[in-house]
Amino acid sequence: MLKVEALHASYGGSMVLHGVDLSINRGEIKALMGRNGMGKTTLMRAVMGLLPIRSGKIIFDGKSIHGLRTHEIAALGLGYVPQGREIFGDFTVWENLQLSMLKLPRAERKIPEVIFQYFPILASRKYQKAGSFSGGEQQMLAIARALATQPKMLLLDEPSEGIQPSIVDQISEILKKINADTGITILIVEQNVDMVMETAINCAFMEKGRIVETCSIEALQENESIIACHIAV
């Protein structure tokens, strides 16, 4: 579904990605792990077109997307839930969800009912300002918002950051359910090992702007030391 080849990108003047090679298959849930500052967020932003790419290729669903503008990439079916959620605090839940559908004429703008099934909290708080929500609720809103356009793939950057464990579990369950129901491909950047073990099928490790290892979650479960190798300080 998504293939990144030899990607080089810089951020603020210094080269952060030094030739990233990563591929994710359709319907897969893959986790990307690594210490802080290794380039995980930069990779996501580069894929979404929010950062300029020095060299390399990004192929999404068979199409080459490097060099495209962000909204075009979004239109092709990539949804992004950034680190820190970044929802529009001054807008209501309803408005936040509407934003992804502005291109459609009013009549066609139905927020898929399933979204409210996945995130029942949002249904009851449709007209509340998003800024008043707790961290966990905001995260759900952020995911819901990304799902509103019915994307083919979802990129999540540290969804568990700053959220209490019970909600993290909830989110993990929801993500698995969505993947099972719709076959959506998911790439999660995470530092939370438990969540990764719960949710993902495969895992990749990033160090200093490069992917250094990939393995399946089963392999990880058998041999925890792999994680220690790449994550421990």
Binding site: L50, T70, A74, E86, F91, L99, L102, R106
Partner: protein, 285 residues
């Protein structure tokens, strides 16, 4: 008796100032561009009316054409210059500054440096509440109010407004959600310019149209935004009211020169105490 006329004149000025400032704040809030040529858009609007008047068509066609013409000019300028400079904030100020000089000279080249006057299109006086007041000024206030109302409506109730406010709040996320930010910039700049053009057109019969008139509205408009807050549309109402009102009041009691000094000092004091403006919020100024 005389006082109520002054109040009405003051209101007149405030409303037009808000019109100009609105365009400026929208462009700044959305695109992070300080358009130094905004005063010149005002100027172009006024001179469009002058042109139609001299061409024998009179004032009214000019009033309708002016925002369109100025909007188109704004669009062209955005396309040719500004869109290359989005990453370079300070340079946009300089570039629009240079443009304002060029535009002003162009006007001088075509029309000459002296002030031109056109007759007010509604010369009658209207009497109400014991005073007689020029109908045209009432007309201006009506137009200004309607336009301000329309702008607020567009921003708060329409899809475009929602998208625009999203871009103002967080440009990257808006793009991630599928909003074409570049197109939004172009539309915004066009709209902002058109607002200034309308203001200029509507004020033209009341003022001597000389090439310096743009600056005379740009500076107070900018000060109004500083006072009200650079990120909010409602702030413009407050800022415009404060700056415009203070200016009118002090000009009337003392003199225009003193008024400029006093208003300016007051603005500096307000900013010193509350750098984000009266209605602004910290962090996004």
């Amino acid at each position: 008796m005389d006082f109520s006329i002054q109040i009405l004149n003051g209101l007149n000025y405030i409303l037009v100032l808000i019109l100009v400032a609105m365009g400026l704040v929208i462009i700044f809030g959305l695109m992070r561009v300080i358009n130094m040529a905004h005063g010149e858009f005002f100027l172009l609007g006024a001179y469009t009316v002058v042109m139609t008047d001299h061409a024998g068509l009179g004032f009214w066609p000019g009033l309708f054409i002016a925002p369109v013409v100025v909007g188109i000019i704004g669009m062209i300028i955005e396309y040719l210059c500004i869109r290359h400079l989005y990453q370079r904030f300070l340079d946009t100020i300089l570039a629009t500054w240079g443009l304002s000089i060029a535009i002003k000279q162009l006007v001088i080249v075509i029309f000459g440096p002296a002030g031109l006057m056109i007759k007010p299109p509604l010369p009658q006086l209207v009497s109400f509440m014991g005073i007689e007041y020029p109908a045209y000024r009432l007309f201006i206030m009506a137009v200004a109010l309607m336009t301000i109302g329309l702008t607020f409506y567009v921003f708060l109730r329409t899809d475009f407004g929602l998208g625009a406010r999203a871009v103002i709040a967080n440009r990257d996320m808006a793009a991630v959600l599928g909003i074409n930010t570049r197109k939004m910039y172009r539309t915004t700049f066009t709209f902002g310019s058109a607002l200034a053009g309308l203001a200029g057109a509507v004020m033209a019969p009341l003022m001597s149209c000389d090439p310096q008139m743009g600056l005379g509205f740009f500076i107070p408009a900018f000060l109004a935004i500083l006072v009200g807050g650079t990120g909010t549309l409602a702030g413009v109402l407050v800022g415009g009211g404060a700056v415009g009102g203070a200016d009118s009041l002090i000009s009337f009691i003392y003199s225009p020169v003193i008024s400029q000094i006093v208003v300016f000092s007051l603005v500096i004091i307000v900013i010193r105490i509350r750098p984000q403006g009266l209605l602004g919020s910290r962090g996004r100024g």
